[in-house]
Every structure is written in C-alpha cells, then in structure tokens.
Symmetry: C2
Subunit: 314 residues, 2 copies
C-alpha cells in the first residue's frame, strides 16, 4: 500500500504541476494539494494489481477518480455552505461561489479526460458518478425532512460514499481484464468496506476515546446530526416510549448534555446494534474478497487494508 | 434540416420521457423542454451526413451535446444571477441554487453517458468541453475589469459559443469516419459560422428593425453590455477623442439616449466595421466548407443553413 501511495502522490503532483495558471485551474491545485489519504486512487491501483495488472497502467484513471471525488467536495461544500475542508478554507470561501461552481465543472471534465477510452471503464465510471450525485441529492432532501428512516439513510451513505470506493476497485479490476463476476465481487468488497468505514466513524464519534480520535467526543450528537446512531436512537426511543433524547435535542446546541446522550444510546442498545452492524458489513466485505477467483497471496494487501480499517481507533 | 430537426426532437423527447422522477432529474426535463432551436444537435447530424454517415447513428452523441449545452446554461444562469431563460424562470429561480448546481452536475455526467465509447469522439468532446468552461471563466473575469480588448472579447466568444458548434460538426464527421483534415475543415466552418452568428446578433440588436427582431432596439447598448460593438465603439471614441459615448454610459441606465448611441456608432464607423467583420467570418466559413473533400451536392444542406443565417433579419 505504501508503494501505491507513493505512485499516486508522484503522479498527482506531476498532474497538478502541469495545470495552466488562472482562476479556472488554481482552485483544483489548491483542493488537491490539501493533505488527504488518497484512499480511492490507492484502491484503484490495488484493484488492478489484485488481478495481475500493473499499478502504472491505471494511474491516469486512479487520478481521474480522485479528481472526481474532489469535484464533488468542491460543489458539496457550496451546497452545505461549509467554510472549512480539511482544516483549510473551502474553495468558495477562499475564492467565491461562482469560481467554485466553474472550477468544479472543469474538474469533472478533467476527470473524464483521465478516464481513458476503454468503454468498460467509462461505463463503470459513468454509472457510479451518477449514483454519487443521487447520494448528494438524498442528503439535501433529508435536511428538509423531519424524519429519515434507517433504510433511507443507509442508501444515502451507500450512494454518496461507498459506491466510489467500489468504483475505484472495479476500474482497477477492469483495466486488468478481470472477469465480470470478479469485478462484481471486488465491487461488493469496496461497497461493504465503505459502509463499514462510515458507520465506524459514527461509532468513534460517540464512543471513541477523544484522546485517540483527536475530536471532541459526541460532536455529531451534540449538533443533532442525522447519523445512523441518531436515527436508530430516535427509533428506539420511540419504540420504548423514552422522551429523553428528544428533550435533549429540543435544547439549544450548547445546553445539550452530551454525556447523558451517549449514556442514553448505550441504554437503548444502540451502541451494541451499531457494533453488530459494523461487524456484519466487515464480514460481508471479507466474504466478497474471499469469493474473488485469484490466488490468496494476491489478496493479502487488500485483506490487510480492511483489517487495519477494522481495528482503527481513530 | 427539417428531417434532422424531427429526428432530434423525437429522440430528445424519448430521452426526457425516460428520466427518473425526483429533484435531480426534473430540472433537466424542464430546461430541455423549453423551446429551443437545437442548432448544435442538428449540426452533429448534418456533419455526419456530409461524410456519408447516417443521421440515426449519431443521435445519442447529438443529444449528448445538447445536454452539455443545457448544463452550461443551468450553471451560467446561477453565475450570472439570471432570473429568466427563454422567457421562463431559470432552474435556480424555479427550484434553488443547490438544486441547479447538482442537477447541472448530473446533466454533465448524463451527457458523457451519451457520448459513446469512440475514443476520437470522446477526445474531441473533452477538448471542447474544457474550452467552453474557459470561455465562461473569461466572461466572468471581464465583469471585474474596466477594459477588455476586442481580441480578448473575440477569444471569449469563440470559446464560450463558437467552439461548441465546431464540436457538434466534428463529432458528426468523426462518427462518419471523415479524415482528420476534413474534420478540421468542418470544425473551422462551424467556428466561423458561430462567430458570425454572435456578431450578427450584436448588429441586429443595435441596427435591426425591432418590428422584425421582436426586441427593443439597442437593448444591449442601453445596458452598457460589453459587446463587440461597444468595445470597438469605445476604442474608436478614444482614438478620435470623442467623449459622447462615455458620457452616455456614465448616466443611469434609464436616462441613456439609445437613439443617440446608435447614431454615434454609425458616425464612428462601427456599424460598417461590424458588417465587414461579419462578412469576413461568413466568407471564412464558406471557404472552409469549400475545402471539405466531398461531392458538392452533399454540402448543399450546410451551405443553405449558412446562407439562411447570413440573410436573417432577426
């Protein structure tokens, strides 16, 4: 994984250095230059290597997926009116909304330029790109609704986050001419891994050790963010006729008792349910990886990556 | 051309009817449903037929280009804060800015879905798509500048408007396997036609018969819009030391004497210069069409289209 990360960093740096000057391209360089884990492009390389392809042969497409991801961040930050991204000003805050719209559009075109001309790769990318837009649409719709079911929330997270991990792995697999069945399996691995990752994030926010996570414990709960935990806790409260969570949420943000909310989630069994769900998703990811028809030693890097995510405390 | 228009209308109607429900797709159907001339997709079909291809074989790509055009309209209208498009509320006015951003993004992805998998078609489309973004960037930059030269203005119009006509014709030619030289010639035809069309629009605004154009004479002049005519008139005023145009522009909009401004443009020789420039661009378009190596009778439809645009009074 270290090698893949090095290849991505080098290729992306070159790509950024080749951008023309001017307000259309500078925001791309800025956003891509913020520190990031590059999970998606690394997965594209690993997906290619899993099936015997060379990482070098899928570098353009890997960077294309990272560009697409950053295009969605640039536009989502406008829609969410977010002032900060990775601790730095968002593009629309640093420049202005119009620049962020147009530079984002150009970034999407640039992503397509990198996706190459393999019709299967393009078809895969097109399908997932549209699903990511649909995910963001669901997310925006939810803000105007009083209640969102757990099923709806999971579908939103699947579309907005998990499918692009799936896409990255599939694009890599496709470049290495994996069979359609194997592409489906590695896609399922990525999707379940993405869902588990997102839910683990929610769990760490509420029940993690803030000294390890580096974030204030229960930040999302305090803000009343509609996460898996919050939606399920409200469902459970309703089922057992417990009004305490609603009472907390009816208070203004800085008067909410976060410790009490965390304790309540435990009492309602939501922590346990979430842990069970994360474990189920991780098991589904490993099962999908098991089903891929390549030698076991080839699967090792992806298996280790999934285990590292499974065991993470931050 | 009537036949091509019929094919486009039918195919686009089917495409719109196949869209899912929901706020991501409804704005696409709305914007595409407003009355429009469909110049770009018709040119894609005509470019294909010119080289012996079947119009039916390039319908998807033609609709893809029309989708791309409408995506740029949806986002440009946000950036320009325009309340109306084709006499109807713009998407961001009818829904909201976030919906217009996201639906536009999804429309661009949908456009790519239709562009097919021919690597030459895709490369052509990618190149021009980025140029259109660059054109909009120039247009936005110009708003914050006191002076724009005629050369800069023409380059902005070329990128923002003319290149997409060129792109449509080239995509059609490419699908019909025209030679690279012929693709270049038909592209040059489209670009010069587009430039002539835009400049003719400016001339008709100032000097056309409002009973025929259906628009108030000199509307752009009154609003101080930076058109070819306005930029050239300011240059000429400066050259001859005539302060009258600047005096008019320093007045509030509804106190400006439009008749005097029109008369001034005539006195400064700008009307004549613009007519000469339109004629030059049209001649360049016809010369490019002449250079295409196909039988003369095949060129007839495009020649007639260009002549109709040349003779238009509205």
């Amino acid at each position: 994984m270290v090698r893949e990360r090095g290849l991505i960093d080098g290729h992306l740096e070159n790509w950024i250095a080749g951008l023309p000057k001017g307000p259309l391209f500078e925001p791309m360089a800025y956003l891509l230059g913020l520190p990031a884990k590059r999970v998606r492009p690394v997965l594209a390389l690993m997906g290619c290597e899993l099936f015997g392809g060379k990482a070098e042969d899928v570098l353009d497409e890997a960077i294309g997926i990272e560009l697409f991801h950053n295009f969605t961040l640039m536009h989502d930050d406008i829609m969410d009116a977010s002032p900060l991204r990775r601790g730095q000003p968002t593009v629309h805050a640093k420049w202005n909304v119009n620049t962020a719209i147009l530079s984002g559009d150009a970034m999407l075109v640039k992503a397509y330029q990198l996706m190459g001309a393999d019709p299967h790769v393009l078809a895969t990318f097109n399908r997932y790109a549209l699903e990511v837009c649909e995910g963001q649409q669901h997310d925006m719709d939810f803000e105007h609704r009083n209640s969102v079911t757990l099923v709806e929330y999971k579908e939103m997270i699947r579309l907005k986050t998990a499918v692009l991990l799936s896409c990255a792995l599939r694009v890599g697999a496709c470049k290495a001419r994996a069979s359609v069945e194997d592409q489906d399996w590695i896609g399922a691995f990525g999707e379940n891994l993405g869902l588990a990752f997102q839910l683990r994030d929610d769990v760490l926010d509420a029940f993690g050790n803030s000294a390890v996570t580096g974030k204030q414990q229960g930040g999302d709960l305090r803000n009343g963010k509609k996460t898996w935990l919050m939606i399920r806790a409200l469902e459970r409260s309703n089922e057992v006729g417990d009004g305490r969570l609603v009472t907390e949420l009816n208070k203004v943000v800085d008067q909410r008792d976060v410790d009490a909310m965390i304790q309540l989630l435990r009492e309602l069994g939501v922590e346990q349910e979430a842990e069970t769900e994360v474990a189920r998703l991780e098991a589904a990811a490993f099962a999908a990886l098991d089903a891929v028809e390549v030698a076991e030693n080839r699967k090792k890097p992806l298996r280790e990556l999934a285990q590292a995510l499974q065991e993470r405390k931050s």
